[in-house]
């Protein structure tokens, strides 16, 4: 058996110091993904630094009306939090669309963002995978592709990010608060996850040893009128085929003054559909207008036989989601 050292961190700074000093050390949060990887041999750290008991488990309101979510707030608690449900319903709904009740009770906010792809080849150490072992090749190209990316993929990696929460956070312009050996920094969600390029082993822009300590949600009218919809292969407990996180603000005439659209299941990171958003600003929301806007965004999509469905699916789901928000429906 592989021996490893387990540290229970006393405070965030010492946890960061421990991991930063050891390239084979990892933070352990809820463990719902990392422990699977230990069993599968996907990763073999020599040291685990358990940060799940650090007192970073508060949800607090910020002076500007925003919300600060400690990294250790459990997914189930965050989904049930009254302020989240009122001011950022997209976040609560995304959380409830993910995993199972048991996993949501265990999984943490920061850990959710740092979960890794469920690509079958990434999780099978007998097959090549650039994300798991850089330089070995991508088995998903020419292999099982139902969950592959259609936007922003590279020759090195065609997988998707599995998180529902991250898609919602991208839509509401959340900020991730990160503690590193040199102190704290703030990373906008749009810069937190990255496209694979030629370094698919790097899911995020975090450096080794940097610890997510909190996520901050800015208040906005679009966040208040927001929702999350997810299409999947079974009614629960399945990753997204595609998902849509959206927020909408209309002016007095009913034209779009602010719109946020983020897609899950289509890329290596939550895909903020900025082209589609630009198309819709100043327009009336109609199914046709949203479909056209989504199609403009999807002009860059690259599909194959197995992923072709994602383009019409995410287009349709976006149209349904935004027309629903425009009608005042909240789901």
């Amino acid at each position: 058996m592989k021996e490893l050292t387990y540290h229970r961190a006393d405070d965030a700074a010492s946890a960061v110091a421990l991991v930063a000093a050891d390239p084979d050390a990892r933070f352990l949060g809820g463990g719902t993904n990392l422990v699977d990887h230990l069993k599968l041999g996907v990763t073999s750290p020599t040291t685990l630094v358990d940060v799940s008991r650090l007192p970073l488990d508060e949800v607090s309101e910020l002076p500007d009306g925003g919300l600060r979510i400690g990294t250790n707030v459990r997914n189930s608690d965050l989904a049930a939090h009254r302020a989240v449900r009122r001011g950022w319903p997209v976040v609560a709904r995304a959380l409830l669309a993910g995993a199972s009740g048991q996993i949501r009770n265990q999984a943490t906010t920061g850990g959710n963002l740092l979960q890794r792809t469920r690509c079958v080849y990434f999780q099978d150490v007998t097959t090549p995978c650039n994300k798991r072992e850089p330089g070995t090749g991508c088995s998903a190209i020419g292999g099982y592709g139902r969950y592959n990316a259609v936007l922003g993929a590279s020759e090195a990696c065609v997988t998707t990010h599995p998180s529902d929460l991250a898609v919602a956070l991208a839509a509401v312009d959340a900020t991730v608060v990160v503690l590193g050996p040199d102190g704290e920094r703030r990373v906008p969600m749009s810069d937190f996850h990255r496209l694979p390029g030629d370094r698919p082993e790097q899911d995020t822009t975090l450096a080794h040893g940097e610890l997510v300590t909190a996520v901050e949600l800015p208040a906005s009218a679009a966040a208040r009128r927001s929702t999350y919809r997810k299409a999947r292969d079974r009614a629960s407990y399945a990753f997204a085929l595609v998902s849509v996180a959206a927020g909408l603000e209309l002016d007095d005439d009913g034209r779009v003054s602010d719109v946020r659209i983020a897609w899950g299941g289509v890329a290596h990171k939550p895909w903020r559909a900025e082209v589609a958003e630009a198309e819709l600003r100043g327009r009336f929301v109609s199914e046709e207008a949203v479909r056209a806007a989504a199609e403009a965004e999807l002009a860059a999509a690259v599909t194959d036989e197995q992923t072709a469905y994602k383009v019409p699916m995410v287009r349709n789901l976006t149209a349904l989601t935004l027309t629903g928000l425009a009608e005042g429906a909240t789901r």
Partner: protein, 705 residues
């Protein structure tokens, strides 16, 4: 021991049969006291603790093992030994190539056992397995079942049925027919995935091999493994007191059982435990092979069938033949003067397929019952009415009279209970918000299978109690409970007076818990033994007297066609924007003979319906053409229905007593619930959307617009 005919009025009462007696082992199971195959506290004769085995498997689909380098593994703390094809004990008989593991260097599929690591802990065994370096020479392979895969006609198909049948001139009749269907239906790789993985604890004490196994048949495991190991059957004891599901995958012994037996024989006196991983189950424990059924129906304008052809092609393995009998149910379902059924098999470099709940009937009735729905559409007839019009007077296959065919009543009663009459005739006629809504129906059938040779022993105990013994197994079905009820009524005592001993190969012969034949076959033996016991010892036997009796022959299988039937009704909703399918209502109405225990019977039928729903909507093993490997090899990527997929679910049955089949009046119920269910769902999605999907599963992308 006497082998006797069961005499008329075989049951002395029906006080217990027909009641919902609580599961005899329910409390042990829900409180965690039930010990499964690797949980038995087995130690060696001198108290030796168990060793742990871990399987090392091939990563090429065809080729040979050039060398196994165990140096690093053996250097790992806790690792005791590594067995490979050069060092494993030699088998006395290697004719069963699936089970003849570690005997030669050939690799016949990806995931084949090429080495076994023994270690002091499960963790060190697992790490040791990762450290074994297997040098493999890969050869070109063909592992994908394709339309142009070369095929052959097997000598017979699973269950011993004929490969092909022909009556009349179906091709000419099809050419003449005014209403026709000509379509191909496919089902994918499906994997049984019982909750308890295949697992066993083995102890070889130098003369005797004891196997605590997770199996559907202790006697069949003993009977298969003993001669291969060069042992007398009496030298092997197989126990399976609790089994966490099987769905057919534990019906026959598979390679892991041989691996643990071989490993144990290298360490006499030390128990060896092996639990197969979920991922390994996708290669080593059987699966339902993909099927492709070309169905052609020719009918008169009034819907009466004139001709029927069902040409089924399925996948088998070069290692061992398994021919899924997908065209067999077409032989009994409907009347048509001109009929042909054929089976062909593509032999590929893949793991050995095996039994999965209702082999043959499940994929075959999916194809046929969707084809019949298409025929109803073409004939402009209600699908229930079309089936009623094609009801055969006698079994079309054998010409025998039906024992108890009540399909029409199942259809009628189901239609009434479901509210079928309110259904719009046209497809794509109902929208409810974001959803298209439709309903569908399919028929279901399963043969009455009865295994010969079962033997039961009855001994009287103090206080009016009886010990009843038979090497049957309860794989979660409720067999332990219903056999207690059968014994009670056969002896004329309350069920509380029965001590049932089962699941041990040292007991009198019990056949496999498979083919929906368990209760039927074991129960007949228990009734025979009870009758003989009373004849031998009377109403007030002295404690300690006993009788052992075989079931002899009971079921009138030569004179009558004995089958169960059913009708499944489904409401499906298909999302207009995403194509996602949900099933808010599923109802099955069955004719299965007398129901011995309504509680456990309902559970079996509901479980079958759920498994059929799961096959309809989710299940698909995806084999990578490059590696020959099912890459959807866990329950996160091989989807089965989750709770949220199962909504209003109902199973009912006709009031039946089938004394032609068993002395209890019952027939088997383990499998019929899965049969036809996927067709009912597919037909409902067609009715909802007007989109006909002929390939399972019915995933969202198929309905996307």
């Amino acid at each position: 021991m006497t082998a006797n005919e069961v005499t008329p009025d075989p049951l002395r009462s029906t006080a217990s049969i027909g009641t919902s007696l609580l599961r005899r082992d329910g409390v042990e199971k829900v409180t965690g006291d039930a010990t499964y195959a690797v949980e038995h506290p087995v130690t060696g004769p001198a108290g030796e603790p168990p060793l742990h085995a871990w399987l090392v498997t091939s990563t090429v689909a065809r080729g040979r093992v050039a060398a196994v380098d165990a140096t690093a593994a053996l250097a790992h703390p806790g690792v005791v030994s590594v067995l490979d094809h050069t060092s494993a004990p030699r088998l006395a008989d290697t004719s069963d190539a699936e089970l003849a593991i570690l005997q030669a260097d050939a690799i016949a599929f990806r995931g084949q056992i090429v080495a076994v690591v023994l270690a002091e802990t499960s963790e060190s065994a697992r790490e040791g397995a990762a450290l074994v370096h297997v040098e493999q020479e890969a050869e070109p392979h063909a592992s994908i079942f394709e339309e142009d895969s070369p095929t052959y006609a097997p000598e017979q198909v699973n269950g011993g049925s004929e490969t092909d049948t022909l009556d009349g001139e179906p091709d000419e009749a099809l050419a003449r027919a005014l209403v026709t269907v000509d379509a191909t239906y496919t089902t994918p790789h499906e994997h049984n995935n019982p909750m308890e993985p295949h697992a066993a604890t083995a102890l070889w004490d130098g003369e005797q091999l004891t196997l605590h196994d997770s199996t559907q048949g202790p006697r069949p495991v003993r009977g298969t493994l003993a001669p291969m190991l060069g042992l007398e059957e009496e030298q092997v004891r197989v126990l399976a007191p609790y089994v966490g599901g099987g769905f057919g995958s534990k019906g026959l012994p598979h390679a892991p059982e041989m691996a643990v037996a071989l490993a144990a024989m290298t360490v006499p006196g030390q128990p060896v435990r092996l639990a197969v991983t979920r991922q390994q189950m996708f290669a080593l424990t059987g699966y339902r092979p993909p099927t492709r059924s070309h169905v052609r129906l020719g009918a008169h304008p009034d819907g009466r069938l004139e001709a029927l052809r069902d040409d089924a092609v399925t996948q088998s393995s070069r290692v061992k033949e398994f021919a899924e009998q997908a065209a067999v149910p077409a032989r009994v379902m409907y009347a048509a003067p001109h009929r042909a059924t054929t089976h062909r098999v593509a032999e590929l470099d893949v793991p050995v397929p095996s039994w999965m709940r209702a082999p043959g009937e499940m994929p075959g009735m999916y194809a046929q019952e969707v084809a019949v729905d298409e025929l109803a559409l073409h004939a402009g007839l209600d699908p229930v009415e079309l089936r009623v019009r094609n009801e055969p007077d006698v079994d079309p296959d054998t010409g025998n009279p039906w024992g108890n065919r009540r399909l029409v009543e199942c259809l009628r009663r189901g239609a009434e209970r479901f509210g079928w009459a309110d259904r719009p005739t046209e497809a794509r006629a109902t929208v409810d918000g974001e959803w298209w809504v439709g309903t569908g129906v399919a028929a279901s059938t399963y043969p009455m299978l009865w295994m010969p040779g079962n033997v039961a022993r009855i001994r009287s105990l103090d206080g009016g109690r009886y010990a009843v013994a038979i090497a049957a197994t309860d794989i979660g079905t409720g067999a332990r409970t219903v056999l207690t009820q059968i014994a009670a009524d056969a002896l004329g005592c309350p069920p509380e007076a029965i001590d049932l001993d089962m699941a041990d190969s040292d007991l009198p012969f019990g056949s496999v818990a498979g083919g929906s034949s368990g209760t039927t076959s074991w129960g007949t033996a228990i009734v025979a033994a009870a009758q003989q016991f009373r004849a031998d010892h009377g109403e007030h036997p002295d404690p300690g007297v006993e009788t052992t009796a075989a079931s002899g022959q009971y079921a009138d299988m030569d004179g009558h066609a004995l089958h169960s039937f059913g009708a499944v009704f489904c409401e499906a909703r298909v999302h207009r924007y995403t194509g996602e399918v949900r099933v808010p209502r599923l109802l099955g109405v069955y004719s299965v003979g007398r129901v011995v225990n309504p509680r456990t019977a309902r559970s079996q039928l509901l479980g079958g319906l759920v498994m059929g729903l799961s096959a309809a909507l989710h299940e698909e093993g995806w084999r990578d053409p490059r590696t020959g490997h099912v890459v959807t090899q866990d329950l996160a990527t091989y989807h089965v229905a989750a709770h949220a997929d199962v909504q209003q679910l109902e199973a009912g049955w006709l009031d039946d007593v089938d004394e032609l089949s068993t002395p209890m009046g019952s027939r088997g119920i383990g499998e019929i619930g899965i049969v036809g269910t996927a067709a009912a769902v597919a037909n409902a999605t067609y009715h909802a959307t007007g989109v006909r999907v002929r390939d399972l599963p019915l995933t969202a992308d198929r309905f996307l617009e």
